[in-house]
Symmetry: C2
């Protein structure tokens, strides 16, 4: 089963989301800004957040006119955070595919992100729904909190499971949760369905990020589009690493490597090996799996529909994807 088949139900509407994103990238009269926005918005991507909003809407009465600005806003918020993630300090280097920062510099990344975020606000205003505006404002605030915590804890091996869950909730789960919740809300679903989809999105988002963090250690470079162990190199301490720092027979050595901003290539590969050997990957998949079970349980109260089936399949798919 391929990822895109999960979204068969809403394929045509995702094409409309794509069109809107292209339009926005073409808006700026300023050439530099339309280049940077185009670079971001035309680069494709899974459009996961719009897909969740649309599917959540389809579990109830689907009104594309109401859902489209929401779906576009969600993707724009996500894209804006991606481009702000590109901003670096002089001491930090980045590898992998060219980012806006790599091509144009920090300042351009900041304002391109601000521009795209501003465009999301235009879409949110279009929704004309106080609750949508409130929830997305709250998520935006919490996402930036998560980013600051991630910065503060970079290269810090003394992190607990709780610290990690706090971070990925803000970094990933809250926006996916809001996508599901607001898709249902915009479709006029009753409060208990809206709540169920909010929780589904939250659990699924947590599992999604945990799986991402696992794949960063075990996937092939060509699948990831970046070198294996990027998080480790950049000092982002993820779930498998936290487990290994507690359980590995070489935990002292591992803590030293994790805390080192300039790791040797050999050290990175050896650390990944240690992390794998102590069972951290299996443990992390287990944590992710438990979130996915909870996610699917939340769907139970929803009436039967193809959209509901797709949402359940997505939960099955998260843990077996290889990219």
């Amino acid at each position: 089963m391929k990822a895109k088949e999960l979204f068969g139900e809403i394929r045509n509407d995702l094409v409309l989301v794509e069109k809107e994103l292209k339009k926005i990238a073409n808006l700026p009269e300023e050439k530099l800004l339309s280049e940077t926005s185009g670079h971001l918005l035309n680069a494709g991507g899974k459009r996961l957040r719009p897909a969740f909003a649309l599917l959540a809407g389809k579990t109830f009465q689907y009104d594309l006119e109401k859902l489209l600005p929401l779906a576009v806003a969600l993707e724009l918020i996500h894209m804006a955070t991606l481009v702000h993630d590109d901003v670096v300090d002089a001491s930090v280097t980045r590898r992998g595919i060219p980012t806006v920062k790599a091509k144009w510099g920090n300042q351009v990344s900041v304002y391109t992100g601000d521009f795209i975020f501003g465009q999301s606000l235009i879409q949110i205003a279009r929704c004309n729904n106080k609750k949508i505006a409130e929830i997305l404002a709250d998520v935006s605030v919490k996402m930036s909190e998560g980013e600051i915590v991630q910065l503060r804890t970079t290269f810090d091996p003394k992190q607990s499971l709780r610290d990690y869950l706090f971070r990925i909730k803000r970094k990933t789960a809250l926006l996916i949760s809001a996508s599901c919740e607001l898709g249902a809300l915009a479709a006029g679903a009753p409060e208990n369905f809206v709540r169920a989809l909010r929780w589904y999105g939250y659990y699924l988002g947590m599992a999604f990020q945990i799986t991402d963090d696992i794949l960063d250690l075990i996937a092939e470079e060509k699948e990831l589009g970046k070198p294996v162990g990027s998080d480790l190199r950049q000092g982002v301490v993820t779930l498998p690493v936290i487990f290994a720092l507690q359980k590995s027979p070489r935990k002292e050595w591992l803590a030293e490597v994790v805390g080192k901003p300039d790791k040797k290539e050999g050290e990175v590969l050896e650390a990944i090996d240690e992390i794998k050997k102590c069972g951290a990957i299996e443990y992390s998949f287990g944590v992710s799996q438990r979130y996915l079970i909870k996610a699917k349980q939340r769907l139970e109260i929803l009436p039967e529909s193809n959209a509901k089936k797709s949402l359940a399949l997505i939960a099955d798919f998260i843990n077996i994807r290889t990219y």
Copy 2:
């Protein structure tokens, strides 16, 4: 006459704005974020945008409950742009008082800005007014456009008056214009009053930025809080410079200095001298003055009130302030 006397009419309400800003800085559980936000939000400042919104509201039926979240949102948007302005690329150096960037680095500046901007969205959602959300979304987009244009044209001596006006409109005038317009709108003023205040704010904002750009060349370092000629050093080409690049007998030499990223201290001072000698300051004051006259004309249709008098006095004050 002192600046703060202009705001006598709304002094008590500005205290409430201040309180709300302090509250927001104290919100984050994350210590680093409450430090950076506090550094910004507790640093004082003229609170010009809240003041305009409150005064504009007072020209009609004043309802502080409706105006307060708007006033707070306006200041937060302004503060967020200030902290994003702190993000620099490795090649650029900054002088003057410590900024968030200087103390904490680029990445912290980005996310602190995002956090504060997110807080403005919470306030905007509280306003529960589609028009307010739309206008502020539009202004946010245009402000980031202006910033990108400013980046692209840094150190470029081949800029026209039109380029300059395009930039300062986005950088400064639109948010001040929105402050006046939305203050009136939130107070339920009729469409023609709202429009009058929008234009008043626009013209006043243009004059405000032009005066700022003049003061950067002629004020004392201790009044500015930064070295004289900061814009020139950083490559921001302002109105007096554009005039001098056309009229100075040494315009070729001046163009060379303006275009040079690494200017010697002596060159900067000599360039300022040339700019002053060719009448660029008088010319720029003249342009500003014409905007201020237009601003005051727009007030004419408003019913008499103390708030209206204050707005007119502010227009008189812009050109004679010394900081």
